[in-house]
Amino acid sequence: MAAEIQKQEHVDTRPPVMGPGHNFDSLTQKIIDIVLMRGFKKGWIFGFAIVFLGALMLFNTIAYLVLKGVGIWGNNIPVGWAFDIINFVWWIGIGHAGTLISAILLLLRQSWRNSINRFAEAMTLFAVACAGLFPALHTGRPWVDYWLFPYPNTMGMWPNFRSPLMWDVFAVSTYATVSLLFWFMGLIPDFATLRDKAKNKVQRTIYGMLAMGWRGDARHWHRYESAYLLLAGLSTPLVLSVHTIVSFDFAVGIMPGWHATIFPPYFVAGAIYAGFAMVLTLAIPVRKFYNIEDFITMRHIRNMCKVMLATGLIVGYGYVMELFMAWYSGNTYEMFMMKNRIFGPYGFMYWLLILCNVAVPQLLWVKKFRDNLLVVFIVSMFINVGMWLERFVIIVMSLNRDFSPASWRMYYPTIFDFTMFFGTIGFFLTCMFLFIRFVPMIPIFEMKTLLPESKVDEKKVEELVSGKGPLGATPLPQFGD
């Protein structure tokens, strides 16, 4: 009876994770052509020129900032934290999609992740690099930032271990290190492929060095797989811990609007929300430009939309809880904080936030919209903006009107706040352009595992082992032979 049920074919109505008609060769060729081609596509040069200008703007701002000091920014008492921390949290959040896709989806055996993981991991790295800039520069004397690390020194000075800002240093540097290792390790087999297919000596030398002597040996693969799984296990807590600690930066203090127990899960959900929005923002144009719709299929887009919808609803739940508890607490400051958020001088930012993060993403409930790339792209843009607004609402609006009206001040960003912020976007996109051009953005060997050729024919194996097949009893090759 159970066997009878098993005979029933289960019809899968979902779109495939890879377009039809591919084999090992066509797949490899298509991905490495983007990297090994001679010269540059016109569109690539045009785009790169624009984003590189943005990066230059960042470098100039940083130079001026180091020269003059953080006074060139608009933050001042009582708003001592503004764009710097907003942007830090925004970028760190964006990085989360990479870790989630590469680690958690790997552990959950979601094979659809195979084509987007490297792309998302690269995004994580570049986003963390952008994020790290802000606190590092906000210290005012970036040349002594190494004081942030606890090391025995002649000054007899230690960082304050009770401060969540201290935990941030550890959380973010661990995050950056593990993400880099994970990304690079995943690249090694593909670097070897590039080395073997290289068209000239320069390519062969550079990719050869990066491949670190990979020969595709069974032992290599065996160790690679165990190490990769281990790193995935290590990264999994990082998905939660990094943004949890970022949320502690606020929640551990007693500022109304910051001190809320829901902050850790609400920040983590927001980070994943922002991360997936950014992956979609980049993946939708890239798959079109490079004609790789076979690899990043509608299945990926749909699944990412669903993750975005779910995390967005958790974020919305956080807003509801903040509102309700501010009233329910009966606390004067909590109630004022909420009133100020909604109707205060920055009130329009709160309404924009609700529009971007809560209202517009509800479109994703409808299947037709999830399948419409333009709609998905626009919704993700809204979320990118919304998540930035959320941090503005939390950080600036709590600080600018705190406990005592005598200390209230408005906050206005300066031109350098904007050049720094848009500069990091330019820098981030510059890195993405270089990554897409010089590194295989889709893992070749992981995609191969999705092809039907790579499936082990269990019947054949059984026949071989039991000796009932046409070949009779044939000993299977043993590991180490």
Partner: protein, 402 residues
Amino acid sequence: MDNNYAAPADLGRIQGVALGVGLLGLIAWVIGVVVSGNARNVFFQTYLVAYVFWIGIALGCLGWLMVQYLGGAGWGVVIRRILESGSHTLILMAVLFVPIVVGLGNIYEWTHKDSITDERVRELLEHKSAWLNPAFFSGRAVIYFAIWLGLMLILRRRSHKLDETGDPNLIQSAQDWSGPGFLIYGLTCTFAAVDWVMSLDAEWFSTIFGLLMIAGQGVLSMAFIISITVILSRREPMSHVYQPKHFHDLGKLLPALVMVWAYFSFSQLLIIWSGNLPEEIPWFIERFKGVWRYLGLAIILLHFALPFLLLLSRDLKRNARRLVLVAWLVIIMRFVDLIWIIVPEFEHGHQKHLSEYLIYIAATIGMGGIWLGWFFWQLRSKSLLPYRDPQMAEALAAGGHH
């Protein structure tokens, strides 16, 4: 295709045992209440603990029911009938809510705000009385139950129709309901947690409390589901159905939820402890004293550390006999955690004699007899598998993934 998944005959015997033990619990409860000398208060306060415990399993089953439709995974199909039976007990729980409304005055401090001498507290309760008043409290409970029962009946009807017609569109329809359903479920469970448990200390508030209680009922119901699957796996016909891979899947969900629960609890503690604000910290100060301190330590060790470490083992997760021991530990610790959350509110610093805590155990066993009786009645009434689900083949396929 035939349905050969009728419940085993001796499930009735287990039901009988549950009812019998429950009856003993009821008798002990009544004796305890009478002897306590403060019958009315003790009755309603012990009743609340028992109620929150058992509705946790019922609501947890409803939540998992929607999650398994949304996730569309193989583990969901093999436990779906358990989830349906568990969530069906919400009908019973709706009826059992009536005594709480009757005993509001004996349970909740906010019902007699006028007799409070501290002016600050009285003003605060005055402010909250728009939310915390008997009429609105009961009205909200009616809304919660209407929503939960509605969701339960909608999903149940589709599942039973599937048995009759085998129409796969019914699964799609159940899935379509589960998305928005889970959203409403999350909100109603949150506000129920605020109403029924958080408002015991009417001054205290914590924005994560709803999520914490939802995670708690997720852990509790998963441990319960594992216990039931293990009972069924020792009997025909499910002994042919449940395989190590199924226990492995459930055994992964259990530590995942234990971790989520621990994460929420720790966040709440760290943030309130660091803030050290007069309106928040008393809740924890109360629980850092006397017997509660040791109970708190026990919760950290036995509700989080031990199950987490044990469930790291792959062999343990695939071994039903050992997995169920961990599940029982988690069920007991969920009860301890609820005691730790609720009971200090009834003491106001005057520690009770330890023997009085036995009444809470008796109450929970007593109500449990009725609850389990209802649950097994439901489980026996239908086929133990939704055997016409299109995913059945995948779920039953032999061999191990991982």
